[in-house]
Amino acid sequence: MRVLLAIGASADTAWLRPLPAYLPAATSEVALVHVVDVGPRKEWEHARERFVGRAPLRPERRADLADAERTRGEATLAGAEAALHDAGYRGPIAWHLRRGHPERELVAAAATLEAGLLLLRARERAGPAPAGPASVGHVARFVLDHAPCPVLLLRGRDL
């Protein structure tokens, strides 16, 4: 069974330490998925629209930005892979770097990769989670609602 593990943008990998304990015995591969969030970029592109007759962004700038996003995404996945190894997981690991809205891309990746389980970490927050719809962040909420496979939401101080 392929297990999809959602890796957020944070460089913190300590939460992956207890992860092997949550992997099912039937795990054949851990697919690490990181999504480069295009939301902030889209917001900024909208903000440019008010400048009448604005010149488009220079191709060199676009290329530099794309390179920065790819480099950072790969570094994030490499950090997660190293942390999984350190935690004692010795099975196969695959990287999947995607661009888009994280919640939608994670659901799409679970379908495309035919994941048997999707693991993701709840948003960090100080204190207990509030009751009601804000009990999880919007990414986790969307994934819980729309994922095509079982979802395991990891939360707790150790994670």
């Binding site: 943008a9 460089a11 939301g39 902030p40 970029r41 889209k42 917001e43 900024w44 909208h46 903000a47 440019r48 629209e49 008010r50 400048f51 009448v52 007759g53 604005r54 010149a55 488009p56 962004l57 220079r58 700038r61 530099d64 930005l65 920065a68 996003e69 480099t71 950072r72 570094a75 994030t76 809205h101 939608r104």
Partner: protein, 431 residues
Amino acid sequence: METAPVDARVGLVALITVATLLAVMLRPRGIAEAVSALAGGALLVAVGAVPPAEAAVLLLNAWNVFGFFLGLMLIAAAADHADVFDVLAWQAARWAGGDPRRLLLNVFAIGVVLTAFLSNDATALVLTPVVYTLAVRLALPVRPYAFACTFIADTASFLLPVSNPINVLVLQRFPASLPHYLQHLLPAALAAIVVNVVAFLLLFRHDLRGRFDAAALAPPAALERPPGLLRFTGGGLVAIAAGYLLAAWQGWPLGLVALAGAAALLGGAARWRALTARQVAREVSWGLFGFVAGFLLIVQGIENVGLVAGLGQGLAALVGADSLRAAFTAVLVSALGANLVNNVPAALVQLAAVASLPADQPRTLLAYGTLVGADIGPNLTTVGSLATMLWLLILRRRGVEISSLDYLRIGLATTPGMLLVAALALWWAGG
């Protein structure tokens, strides 16, 4: 009997003006704002609201404004191609000592200086992508830094007459010496900047925790090359900044300084083969010229048929005899107009209304208030107009994926405070 044709013409002018404003707000079939504005201006000439000779004189008299716009864009393009912005952002990261909060403060500082001397366009359009890329490379949350650039571009844009094209339009109508300008507007600008910075430190406090490693950042390409172009452009920018201050002090046309500075920087860029003529042409927002020209004609048209006098009377009724009320009214009405349509037409119409008021009204305060509202106001909805924002919200309700709501949230949380503090400081400085 004689008034009927006049009334009909007033109605026609009002119709054309409102249609033009709606076209600018809604951009039907993707028609560019500049095309709508020019069409509206040309229609007013065609119906006789602005005689052709008067239109020609009006546009020729605006040569300083147009020259300034062109110079400004060319200077920003030359600085961008010399990687000045990249070097500044890299230094900002090094000087932050690994502290995300200090990096945010450094970004604000660079934004303030660049906006003051190179205008809000340079900060919002050129610095933002550089800072965005920097934040990505440093594995930092990008929102605080990208938003800081776009917000400070507006907030710091009335520090000097050259900090926002709107300021030049205001000073074209209400000429003022640099000391007079600074005496009235510097306290308001500084107060608004402080509110902006403090609000961001509070709103993004959770994103600004932890440390980053600036040593992992590769130096910008400009520092790997022979330093000739970077030094020339950096020196040129300092000289242009000094030229602006001198020109504003002496009352010389700012357009001349901007064009001369742009010519020098482009000459340097050509000498070091950093910029081709095609790239230069691509970097200029040509539509802005048509947009401003169109609205200069439209405002002249509504002035000629007496519509502006009515707006002036409305403004006078709102203001009353109280200078504090005058400052708040001018700032808030202008900011509202900037968000309903766009800050250029909003400021031009409001200035015309102020100019129509009798001399016993606080016209200087009202003109400066118009400038402040038009400069800071766009931060409220950021996308430029409330109409665009409402349209985006409708799309969202229909399930179409949109973003911009974060911008709106931050804008609504910070901009009213900035406007109120700036209005208060303006009133205090003018009293």
